[in-house]
Amino acid sequence: MKFVYLFFLCFALAAAGNAQVNAEASAGMQNELDAVARVGSVMVDGDLCRRIVTPRAKHYMFATDPRDPWLAGDNYDVDDASFNAVKKTLIRLSHLASFPADVNLWMPIEGHPGKIQIVVRNKNEMSQFWTWGALYQDMFPPMETVLKTGQRVTVTNKPGWISVLAPVYNSLGDVVGLIEAVSRVKTDAHENVK
């Protein structure tokens, strides 16, 4: 009986210790991601971001054809020069973190309030918001806050995930999109590779 008690005591202490380590790690990561997002707001060029998705892709994004379920995806196209320039900036921003992190670009869709799309993803394939394969999604309240207020917002809704959302500005000073600096307390090497 004593052995069982000791075993559970040790297990509970280890679990509590682990939780504390995780909480500390999480807080540290949150600070770093916030710094990444803050720098990202300065570095990412909103005018360039707006040129990534082509007019054709936007035209078909909400089009439907009962005979062609892949109409939107098959017509999805980007301006590769703008895409590459922004993606390179996002990759460099992710290097500011001392742990594996991604910086994704999200843009609202003109003419479709209440919708938002991920426009650039990166090599760890992490996002707290993206549904695999979705071309666009319903606007997430924290993203709406960023777009409306220009404030950075930290989101930790999914256990183990940390995202810091930060505004992207164009040359007029308008918030035209946002970046998601994201990581996980414990990465999954195999998620999405399927």
């Binding site: 054809d65 062609d68 980007v78 993606k87 990166n122 090599k123 394939e125 195999h190 590779v193 399927k194």
Partner: protein, 633 residues
């Protein structure tokens, strides 16, 4: 169970569980006594050809009713079950145990071969309940050992009022077996009674060529699908991915099951934004000019036995290197996309790919085609160009650049076979021209390739490999449907066919099956087997490949076109022209102006001309192959 727990609370739930278990043990003790007393009154044993899939109530599944007239085709005038097989392959049939009421039984299947070379494999057929049409279909094959004892209804399949249990019998005839006739029997016993079916196996002299005329690929993505089906125990060393030997043993088992069934297996190791799973790539270190491979150990543990063939040492087909493998190369590996278009990208790509070539050469891995393949699509937002199914011609510039980088990385006289693969649809006709000398493995949309009748010949004459792709048919289709893919490949003169996904049977294939449109094998875990188990469709496909290889081998005696014409006629009364569509007007438009629905319209000729294969379609081709063998004799 969760509901019970919520209603009664945890403690009461446990008490109820204990009571239930006691009742269950009591039941288990007395249940066999009860059913033994039922004996085998009215029991029967029926032999069925492979193309007629039985249901669990003594009938034939609705999809295969078109072959019902051939139900007794295996029986000869003496009520013997007559089987015919080529050397170097399998002859297959089914046995159905029937009893009108609950019964225990034992089934014995034997073929008396004095040389002990001919082997008999017995499998119990699992009846899957398909949600879409609320019907049962047999597919997963659970290895069984003869004599096999069980009861009807089969306890684990849990089918109310089940009166029939089916078995798949594979008879393996090695290449060095002596031609002639072997006899055997299938015996059903229970309750002091028995039923015997005499078996007569004619081993024919022709040998099935070891190499197939059509490569059938079974594709998959990553390893997590495999691991999930075998439970978390397969995922070891948390935080470091799949590093354990058990995981690699499982991956090798997947390769082995497809190889045993005359197919190949592909696992793509990276995602649409370039994430590479650790078991699919060597570890990289450094950046720019210092980027290099730091550790091959995990990669070599995964692939070494596949490249040197030792993973297949226990196979009946003998050890052989896998003929094709995806490399982890993508726009983000080995070079960082951060440097795309800059000297750093070229340095990272060229240096690491050169190291890979050297490593493969030093290991002697020269019998495998290492595929540089870009699977990403821009709609998944990782990269700004389509690697898979290019639609926009501007994207081809990226292929041209990678072609240049590859040429720079690889010695021209390397014995290691690197191939540049492109999966093509919309723009294939242009790509065949623009990417000549760059891409040399083409995996084509079957529908669109059907517009370009001359393409396979043109591509193969310049040394390229041509496959087309599609997906496995559901179990609700006729049994012969799976044979249409290899047949089409052979008739078209292409090298192979790719099933895009074959290892994902859904969340509950056993009692709530989605039809198996993405699965040809299943996890054996439910039956205490730590490897995948085959399905009936995989067996039928294998037997089709055997016949195709054999028929093709007769081209020295008969023109290949004449063989193809006869096969098409026997299969579904079609002509060779019926398998192609006329080149449509839309083919002259730039591919970015095509509409998906217009492509469907352009395929109407084949849709009208080709009858959907009836259940015995391949049986008729097999009979034609037999006639060729007789002629040759």
């Amino acid at each position: 169970m969760t509901a019970l727990r919520e209603v009664f609370g945890e403690a009461k739930y446990r008490v109820r569980q204990n009571m239930l278990m006691r009742r269950l043990r009591f039941g288990i003790l007395f249940f066999p006594l009860f059913i033994v007393t039922q004996g085998l009154q009215g029991a029967a044993l029926e032999a069925l050809p492979e193309f007629l899939r039985p249901d669990p109530f003594g009938g034939i599944v609705a999809a295969d009713q078109s072959g019902i007239a051939l139900r007794s085709v295996l029986y000869n005038a003496h009520r013997q079950v007559g089987l015919t097989g080529w050397r170097g392959g399998y002859a297959s049939f089914q046995l159905v145990v029937k009893a009108p009421g609950p019964s225990r039984y034992t089934l014995v299947v034997t073929i008396a071969d004095p040389t002990h070379k001919v082997k008999t494999d017995l499998f119990r057929e699992w009846f899957h309940f398909v949600e879409a049409d609320k019907q049962y279909y047999p597919d997963a094959l659970i290895p069984a050992v003869s004599p096999y004892s069980s009861s009807l209804p089969e306890p684990d399949n849990r089918i109310p009022q089940q009166t029939a249990q089916a078995f798949w019998v594979d008879i393996f005839i090695p290449a060095d077996a002596t031609p002639g006739v072997l006899t055997g029997k299938a015996e059903l016993a229970g309750g002091g009674k028995s039923v015997t079916l005499p078996l007569r196996l004619a081993v024919l002299s022709p040998q099935i060529p070891a190499d197939d005329v059509v490569t059938i690929d079974h594709n998959s993505y990553g390893s997590s699908w495999l691991a999930e089906q075998f439970g978390n125990s397969m995922v070891c060393e948390p935080g470091h991915g799949f590093k354990c030997d058990e995981m690699f043993a499982l991956i090798h088992a997947y390769h082995r099951i497809f190889y045993e069934h005359r197919g190949i297996f592909h696992q793509l190791g990276y995602g649409h934004a370039g994430k590479v799973a650790p078991e699919f790539a060597p570890v990289l270190e450094g950046s720019g000019r210092t980027k290099h491979i730091a550790d091959w150990s995990l990669y070599d543990r995964h692939y070494g036995p596949l490249f040197d063939g030792s993973a297949f040492a226990s196979s009946r087909r003998g050890p052989r290197s896998i003929p094709f493998v995806y490399l982890p190369i993508n726009p983000e590996w080995p070079a960082s996309y951060e440097f795309w278009g800059e000297p750093g990208y070229e340095a990272e790509f060229v240096n690491v790919v050169s190291e890979m070539e050297r490593h493969f050469r030093e290991k002697g891995w020269t019998h495998t085609n290492f595929e540089v393949f870009f699977n990403h699509k821009k709609r998944y937002q990782g990269f700004p160009w389509d690697g898979d199914e290019v639609r926009f011609p501007k994207d081809l510039d990226y292929f041209i650049e990678y072609g240049r980088l590859l040429k720079k990385a690889l010695p021209p006289d390397s014995p290691v076979h690197f191939v540049f693969r492109a999966d093509v649809s919309w723009d294939m006709e242009q790509q065949f021209k623009i990417l000549e000398g760059i891409v040399n493995l083409w995996c084509c949309s079957g529908g669109i390739l059907s517009f370009y009748r001359d393409a396979p010949k043109t591509l193969r004459e310049r040394g390229d490999i041509v496959w087309y792709y599609g997906g496995p048919p559901s179990v609700t289709e006729t049994s012969s449907t799976i044979t249409e893919f290899p047949l089409r490949a052979w008739l078209w003169g292409v090298n192979g066919f790719v099933h895009w996904l074959t290892v994902s049977p859904g969340e509950d294939p056993w009692f709530h099956f989605d039809g198996g449109g993405t699965a040809l094998v299943y996890s054996g875990k439910r039956f205490g087997i730590s490897e995948p188990i085959p399905g009936i469709r995989l067996k039928i496909q294998r037997n089709c490949l055997q016949d195709l290889a054999l028929i093709d081998s007769f081209k020295a005696r008969k023109p290949l076109d004449s063989l193809k014409r006869e096969v098409a006629r026997n299969y579904n009364n079609s002509t060779l022209d019926d398998w192609w569509n006329p080149r449509p007007a839309l083919a002259d438009l730039p591919s970015d102006q095509w509409l998906g629905s217009a492509i469907d319209d352009a395929m109407q000729h084949t849709q009208r001309a080709l009858k959907h294969p009836e259940a015995p379609a391949w049986y008729h081709v097999h009979q034609y192959a037999l006639s060729l063998a007789v002629e040759a004799k």
